[in-house]
């Protein structure tokens, strides 16, 4: 049976994995707490820009927590981080550029329609 294929492990490796176990557990508690905070603060009557910034910061912390510890970037070679960051930076740049490019028009038409000719010429 598959269970009989278990390999012997060194004590050091077991200690290392146990450390990871507690890291994962603590991280998951932190992630749940942050999600709870996110859920609560949207109802708090404070400055809206402060709320928006708080949401961005909290979700960024969650994002980094997952990719750094759960996805093992902390323990892997830097190449993995670099490869992922290339895609992430391109994606973030694309989203930012598009969000800045398109603005709401009170008449209902996307402002890009009026911007395009000036961009092209």
């Amino acid at each position: 049976m598959a269970e009989t294929q278990q390999k012997p492990v060194t004590p050091d490796y077991v200690v290392e994995e146990h450390k990871k176990y507690f890291t994962f557990f603590n991280l998951s508690i932190a992630l749940i707490a942050i999600t709870g905070i996110e859920l609560v603060i949207i109802y708090v009557p404070v400055n809206r820009w402060f709320l928006f910034t708080s949401l961005m910061v909290l979700s960024t912390v969650k994002f980094i927590g997952v990719i750094w510890w759960f996805m093992h970037l902390r323990w892997d070679r830097a190449l993995c981080t670099i490869v992922f960051l290339i895609g992430l930076i391109l994606a973030t740049g694309t989203v930012t550029a598009l969000m800045l490019l398109f603005r709401r028009d009170p008449d209902g038409a996307p402002e890009i329609m009026t911007l395009l000719p000036s961009l092209l010429w």
């Binding site: 278990q6 994995e17 994962f24 109802y43 949401l55 994002f63 996805m71």
Partner: protein, 239 residues
């Protein structure tokens, strides 16, 4: 290779040959990171499309009136917990603890199915109660495409993890004895039986790669939860 690994004290010995690449990173893992980087851009375009159309074409239906933010927060909680179980299953795989890995994988699959059930319930509620369909408005189109694409990713992840779970099962897993009677789980046997008993210690890397994919799905949901759901409750941005 596996027999050599079994006789050495280093549990990573079976995986060591896989690391002998010019980059020092296993090829499968590097390929997965490259894929995830490309998937970042894929979801980036979907999220920006949703946000832009939300801004340019304010919808008739106010999203906060149809969203059930508590349910969505619960889905986030479920997905975060599944990520914890996935990390633990990868850890168990590297330790060679196959039974533990299987239990954690089953937990991850279970939580993934709960998340999908929540999404199905949410979509059903939106269609039946609010009349929000894929073609009813621009908001409906971009919302369903974005969250639906994420849901497809979750479903594929569940299928992938199910395959690896099946690989860890003994050959005769489909036959169970209960009160002296044998039960045949025919549909599961047909689908997964060919995979049973195939897991070896070298496959810990494959489980880790599947784990990377699963964590990425969680990461994407973290962004969607904030950008699509929570931000709607801040009306100053006037989407």
């Amino acid at each position: 290779m596996s027999s050599h690994a079994a006789t050495t004290d280093d549990p990573h010995a079976a995986l060591a040959p896989l690391k002998k690449t010019s980059t020092g990173v296993e090829n499968k893992k590097l390929a997965m990171w490259a894929f995830l980087a490309s998937d970042c851009m894929f979801f980036g375009t979907l999220i920006s499309t949703h946000l832009i159309y939300r801004k340019v074409y304010p919808t008739v239906v106010e999203p906060t009136e149809i969203f059930d933010i508590e349910l969505t927060a619960f889905s986030s909680f479920i997905l975060l917990m599944s990520s914890l179980l996935m990390a633990l299953s990868v850890s168990a795989a590297h330790k060679g603890n196959i039974a533990g890995m299987r239990r954690f994988l089953l937990g991850t699959i279970f939580f993934g199915l709960i998340f999908l059930s929540g999404q199905v319930y949410e979509f059903n509620h939106f269609v039946r109660e609010s009349g929000l369909t894929l073609s009813s408005s621009v908001f409906g189109s971009t919302f369903y495409v974005l969250t639906g694409t994420h849901g497809v990713h979750v479903a594929l992840g569940v299928l992938w993890l199910s395959c690896w779970t099946a690989c860890t099962l003994p050959k005769d897993w489909a036959w169970y004895t209960l009160k002296g009677r044998r039960f045949l789980w025919l549909p599961f046997r047909v689908v997964f039986a060919p995979m049973t008993g195939r897991y070896k210690h070298e496959n810990a890397l494959d489980v880790e790669v599947a784990g990377l994919y699963w964590h990425f799905v969680d990461v994407v949901w973290i962004v969607i939860f904030t950008a699509v759901y929570l931000v709607e409750y801040l009306p100053v941005f006037g989407f």
